[in-house]
């Protein structure tokens, strides 16, 4: 029942928020998200990673169609649930400084989003998964569309269309798979959409070949992988900071997670047939994102493109189909979630104080802001993947995995570390060092609330960097199981 509790608690809180107005609303929302995190930690503490499929709830949902409300967690799910519940209160805290119109609705949407995300990470039924996959889209659409920047309408419209069209392909694939299954366990329906039933299907190579694309496109758009990425930089830039953090910190992991949980085990032959193409696209994305990031003048856009580059590496790791690559992807999902949220938060702080995000207009912040400078540097170095920080473990494993797949691709993908250092350090230099400008002259250092967001993030950066085994051990049985499912 713990999983169901995790799933519905934020939703209930979001509904209750309707009745809590003003300042009490933010406290209520933050409290709910924090409580949710505590429950998730409790789940993690009591969790036995070696045992697959724990904390399961399996209730009939649409019994006549063999669709059940089947949620449960293995190590992989649990890590992403932890990431979601860890980041959600911080994202809420980060949004307190903003004076949003109708703030209660804003917080309610963030909590609603949390339910959708946890649903995606815990669903063990194809239609439940699809259901939450789309449900997670609705709040982010409104968050970006109502509270976003100047061009928000056009940008969110494009984002919504891209992602939902991608998802519809996935739905078509699922419907096809559903009709290939045998009777449901309860015997009421002729077919079932249970995850395990999908795993058990014996599909021909030809079927898997096109099913692969149907399902993959949905995930590719969400991640996003080159060339399905065109919505991403605009949406990241135009969305309000908390929505950007949700999108980049958690939502893009839906795509990677989907590949691990659904795509690889269900269409292994499709993966072996098309994996090379995805690898090439991913590596193109890595280089392409990095090169464009170098040219950016807008901090938020720069981080958006760097995120594109990083997610390419994660995808490459997944499709290397090695244990190292998959483990790297898992730990990098966590690390990237923490890093990118930190980056966007700092960009948001700078923008709020100076009213600009343009790098050339900034400079000289180190002189007055020791706390901000140190935090920024830590987060930035973690993103560059300096050893002992969170980014390093993931990138090392990922690159090792890609090298095992193909030396040349590994070598090209490795350039990302150099390019990453180039654009990130350049940004740090131009924003933080040098003489102060008219925008930055009266800059105040971090206040308590901002520190309250950054300190946990920095803590996590070092925890992942120093003790990655905490997390790697949790995901290892799941990863091994996914790979063994692919060997059938």
């Amino acid at each position: 029942m713990l999983t169901a509790l995790l799933l519905f608690f934020p939703l209930a809180a979001a509904l209750l928020l309707h009745f809590v107005k003003g300042n009490a609303g933010r406290v209520f929302a933050f409290g709910a998200a924090l409580l949710e995190f505590i429950v998730a930690v409790y789940a993690a503490v009591t969790f036995d990673a070696s045992n697959v499929g724990q904390l399961e709830v399996n209730l009939p949902w649409i019994a006549s169609a063999g669709i059940s409300f089947h949620v449960g967690m293995d190590g992989l799910s649990l890590l992403l649930v932890l990431l979601t519940t860890f980041l959600a209160p911080l994202i809420l805290l980060a949004s307190f400084r903003h004076d949003y119109k109708n703030a209660s609705a804003f917080y309610a949407l963030v909590l609603f989003m949390e339910t959708g995300l946890i649903g995606v990470f815990t669903s063990m039924d194809a239609f439940l998964f699809y259901f939450f996959w789309e449900v997670a889209l609705i709040p982010i659409y409104f968050l970006a569309g109502i509270w976003g920047g100047e061009r928000r309408v056009a940008v969110t419209f494009k984002f919504f269309l891209y992602t939902i069209i991608g998802s519809l392909f996935m739905l078509a694939g699922f419907v096809y798979l559903y009709y290939q299954t045998g009777p449901a366990a309860n015997g009421l329906a002729a077919h079932t959409s249970d995850l395990q039933a999908f795993y058990d299907l014996s599909l021909t190579a030809a079927e898997q070949s096109w099913l692969f694309w149907l399902i993959f496109i949905a995930f590719a758009v969400k991640m996003p992988i080159f060339p399905f990425h065109t919505w991403q930089p605009d949406t990241y830039t135009e969305s309000p900071a908390p929505a950007t953090m949700l999108l980049s910190g958690i939502m893009l992991k839906m795509g990677i997670y989907g590949c691990l949980r659904w795509l690889l085990p269900i269409t292994p032959l499709g993966v072996s047939q098309w994996g090379w193409l995805v690898m090439i696209l991913a590596v193109i994305g890595i280089i392409y994102g990095a090169i464009i990031a170098i040219r950016q003048r807008d901090m938020k856009r720069l981080i958006a493109y760097s995120s594109l580059s990083h997610v390419g590496l994660m995808a490459a790791g997944v499709f290397s189909l090695t244990q190292m690559g998959l483990q790297g992807a898992v730990v990098q999902m966590l690390a990237h979630g923490v890093n990118v949220v930190g980056m966007f938060f700092i960009a948001d702080i700078i923008q709020r104080r100076t009213n600009t995000r343009l790098i050339p207009e900034l400079g000289g912040l180190t002189q007055t802001t020791p706390l901000l400078s140190v935090s920024f540097l830590v987060v930035l170095l973690a993103t560059v993947a300096l050893p002992l920080t969170s980014g390093f473990v993931g990138e090392f494993l990922l690159l090792a995995g890609v090298f095992q797949y193909n030396n040349w691709l590994g070598a090209v993908a490795g350039i990302t570390i150099i390019l990453g250092a180039v654009y990130l350090l350049r940004m740090f230099q131009r924003v933080m060092l040098g003489p102060a400008t008219s925008f930055t002259a009266a800059f105040r250092d971090l206040n308590g609330a901002e520190l309250a967001v950054l300190v946990p993030l920095i803590f996590m950066i070092f925890w992942i960097g120093l003790f990655p085994n905490t997390f790697l051990q949790m995901s290892e049985p799941s990863v091994i199981r996914i790979l063994s499912l692919m060997q059938r």
Binding site: I62, S64, V135, I138, L161
Partner: protein, 467 residues
Amino acid sequence: MASIILLSVLGIANLFLGFLRSNRMLLPAAMVILLIVFGANLYDWNAPAQSYFNNMLTIDRFSVAFTGIVVLTTLLLLPFSQKYVRDNEANLAEYYSLLLFSLVGAIMMVSYDNMLMLFVGIEILSISMYVVAGSDKRNVRSNEASLKYFLMGSFATGILLFGIALVYGATGAFQLSEIGAAVTNPANDSLRPMLYIGILLMLIGIGFKVSAAPFHYWTPDVYEGTPTFFAAFMSTVVKTAGFAAFLKLLVQAFPAAQGFWIPTIVAMCALTLLIGNVGAVAQQSLKRMLAYSSISHAGYLLLGLVAFNGELSGLSANGIFFYSLAYSIATVAAFGVLKLVHDQRQREDYDGLNGLARTNPLLAFVMTIAMLSLAGIPLTGGFFGKFFLFGAAVDKGYIGLVVFAVIMSMVGIYYYLRPIIAMYMKPADDETEAPITVGSFQSAVLIILAVLTVVLGVLPGLVSGVL
């Protein structure tokens, strides 16, 4: 059967209420009548199937279920006619009675066993519609709509009747079961061409009523001219009854001829989806968009006919039932909000909704749920409606057609998002700044509509397999 009798008797009683010159009474009276009918109808749910009038009508689960949809839809729609009450329209009692009588026609269409009953049912429904389409007497467009609908509808009726006559000629029967037997009888093989032409003409006649392409041309113009309240009735009740009648006809009379009519329906389905969705994209008026959207939904419902499995239960019938219910509820909500906006802002375009989320959060929220449902986004009934119909068609192997339908629903998302963008993301201008006054009764009904849509979207199992 009780529902038909009650509606006829109480409809006449309602007509006499008009003599009391107290228009305030009329709306509550009509709603009470519908509530009684809804209850009486539900009462028949567990009763064994019963035939009436020499087996011309059969009241079984199928007919009770679809009667339930049309009565419920009308019941939820009525509160939005309050403006008519306020404006003290002279012939108000007649309009309410016409709606009640037209429901009798709709019920006959979902429970007929004899093609004459089908014809009578369609005519009762249609003639009421011709009248209400022109009920805004002083409006030229309403007159035009009425005339257009009447002329084209009469042609369609004539074609339908001709089809019935040819089918009778080929099979010697009006009774559905007898036609079914005659079609399979090898002795009638020489009459096949006549039968096929008869079936084709019947498809055209009913296709017109449910606005399936290529017989949809009247829809946007008629919807635009017809008062919003009645347009909502047309796009929900008429379509639901039409599809139930369609399914009944194909399942009970022509299962043996499916090799002939299924390709025809497949072609109609693809064309309807294309015209409905692409047409809706081009519209600037919300009302016209809803008209084209109603065409497109006829296309999705046609998928249910394609997935035909020879019985009035199972995937296709249940799919059509669920879809009709979800579609009707969402459409009533959309038209309801549109009517409130139109009454007070005199605008039917998208920009008329600008800033609605600020001034009327409830209206905006209900409209959003309705649009998401029509677009088929999860958490709403529309998603499972599409899911069941697409699934039924995939099960029968029409993968290509379903892929096309999926692509068309992607197009649909484009135009269903536009009202949401207008309401939430565009600032109000001078004309749209003032809040719209919504009566507490209407608010309650809007909330019910939203809740029903979400309940269908979260717990579809409640009604998904009832037939």
